[in-house]
């Protein structure tokens, strides 16, 4: 049994790396853009940028110049600095919220897919309840009442992501739990905890991580939508969504104020979608070498 399992995994691994070599320029430019946005967001304070919140009422909607590389917004704040600091918010919320969904949803999904029975019915049922609510409405209501803060925003968006991660983890566990290596481990007398952590988790982790990247893309969009409506991050913190919302007021005189952050958001969301979807296709057992 053990040797069979080894050879099987080796083949899958070889197949994945063989296909990974043919990923092409689109995939790598997406990775490049993600790395660039990450670097800029992390290094925001060291970069020679003006303050993103300093207002200069004489320089409102100033055009592109040597002082303001991307001009200034409606309150005379430097557009480039706001863009860079906005990337921070998008990435902090976009990465932290799916982590909540990944941990709780992943654990619930694996447990319900492995133990089945009443527990599974209960978990799937509660997720159905959560899925019944329009996510944006739920997020709007909760942030409107709990107060606008980055923490509240992250937690509510994270909770909203739990059902999706649960479904992915459960589906993967359901198929894997019937495979030979799990049956072998059971026959050898392994405990449930050992089977879940040592046998199932490494195999479920791959599709979950690919889905995590798609989750990041969705979260960035929802955070943007909430901030766009003025119910996301509290002002004067800049976020791509709130910048687009503010830029919307001056579409006729300075359309770039909406379109620059819009482009940044589109490219980032597209990159996460592209990389996530490619990894999902690579790790999808249905298309694999099985």
């Amino acid at each position: 049994m053990a040797t069979l399992e080894l050879t099987l995994e080796k083949d899958v691994g070889a197949e994945i790396s063989r296909r990974a070599r043919r990923l092409g320029p689109v995939f790598w430019s997406a990775v490049g853009w993600m790395v660039f946005v990450f670097a800029v967001a992390i290094l925001a304070e060291v970069l020679p940028l003006p303050s993103p919140t300093d207002m200069d009422m004489l320089e409102r909607r100033a055009p592109i110049s040597a002082l303001h590389w991307l001009g200034t917004d409606g309150l005379g704040r430097d557009e480039l600095a706001r863009l860079v600091y906005g990337a921070r918010i998008s990435l902090i919320v976009g990465l932290c919220a799916p982590v909540i969904g990944l941990t709780i949803g992943g654990a619930l999904g694996m447990l319900s897919g492995y133990f089945r029975g009443r527990f599974e019915t209960l978990v799937v049922g509660s997720m159905d309840v959560l899925l019944a609510f329009p996510p944006l409405i739920l997020a709007l209501a909760v942030t409107a009442y709990l107060g606008q803060s980055i923490l509240n925003l992250t937690v509510i968006l994270g909770v909203l992501g739990i059902p999706a991660f649960m479904r992915v983890a459960r589906a993967a566990t359901l198929t894997l739990a019937r495979r030979e290596f799990v049956i072998a481990a059971q026959a050898l007398g392994a405990t449930h905890a050992r089977i879940l952590l040592r046998e199932l988790l490494p195999n479920v982790a791959l599709p979950l991580l690919a889905f995590f990247l798609l989750g990041v893309a969705v979260t960035i969009v929802v955070e943007g939508a909430l901030s766009f409506l003025g119910l996301g991050v509290p002002p004067p913190i800049s976020s791509w969504g709130s910048m687009i919302g503010e830029g919307r007021e001056s579409l006729d005189v300075a359309p770039r104020l909406a379109f620059i952050p819009a482009t940044a958001m589109f490219l980032t969301v597209l990159s996460f979608n592209l990389v996530g979807d490619t990894l999902r296709a690579l790790t999808d057992p249905r298309q694999g070498a099985l």
Binding site: A132, F133, A141
Partner: protein, 316 residues
Amino acid sequence: MLGFIARRLFYLVPVLLAVSLLTFLIASLLPGDLAYVILGDQATPEKVEALRQDLGLDQPIWWRYLGWLGHVLEGDFGRSFRTGQTVLEAVAERLPVSFELMLFAELMGLVIGVPIAIICAARSGGIFDRVMTGSAFAMLSVPTFLSAILLIYLFAVQLRWLPATGYVPFTEDPVGNLRFFVLPALTLALAEWPGIMRVLRSDMIATLQEDYIALAKAKGLKPSRILLVHALKPSSLTLVTITGINIGRLLGGTVIVETIFALPGIGRLLVGAIYTRDLIILQGVVLLVAGSFVMMNFIVDMLYAVLDPRIRHGHA
């Protein structure tokens, strides 16, 4: 089949109960006492206490929940303390707007998505197919508020063809009404067509490999006839269900679009209720939207079961 429907209906009861409980908890556990909200800043403690008793806020929460649920089951969702409108009146007033928006959006999505899917499937792997599959993927990364702004900029600010915001009832000015709906519906359709196109394209590619398509080709039928008559119908089953799910999803997804384009629909009603802390309207409308979403899923499940007998016998 009847047994299957009964089982699913039985499952629906706890889900709907949990939905109502969660709605009630969200609306009542959130900070901000309803009595203070109604009376405003100048409220004296005595007045607040009196109103709390009047509204039944001094009673335990589970008792209030049961009371609310009882009223809801009788069809009484409550009355807004701001406008005096009942929840059902407010929803009935706004629903036609949201419904018109969803209908247009879904229609436009189909008009864009179906022809593209057919052409892509006819020559899958060709240049058109690859370009359109790529564009559909890119479109999935465009948030609705981005496409809304882009469309407003193009058609309202630059070309001045269409109004950016506003609404007139269809009965007053049919042409004006339609003009106000073009941009919002197109915004939603831009988000809808990639899904429609992907589903129909992959189903159609599968259908085109069937034997009877080869027979039709061998008989010398025109390619357009094979595509539109022989292949389209059997490939559109998933599309029908997708359209059903989309309408349920759009119900909650119109919030952004209605807010941007100032359309007085359900989404605006909800956002307005959140801004003005109108708890009665908020919990009533959220319950209605969530409840109809659950029902929509139930209907889609039933449709699947009708189409695929394996599901109703529990083999899938």
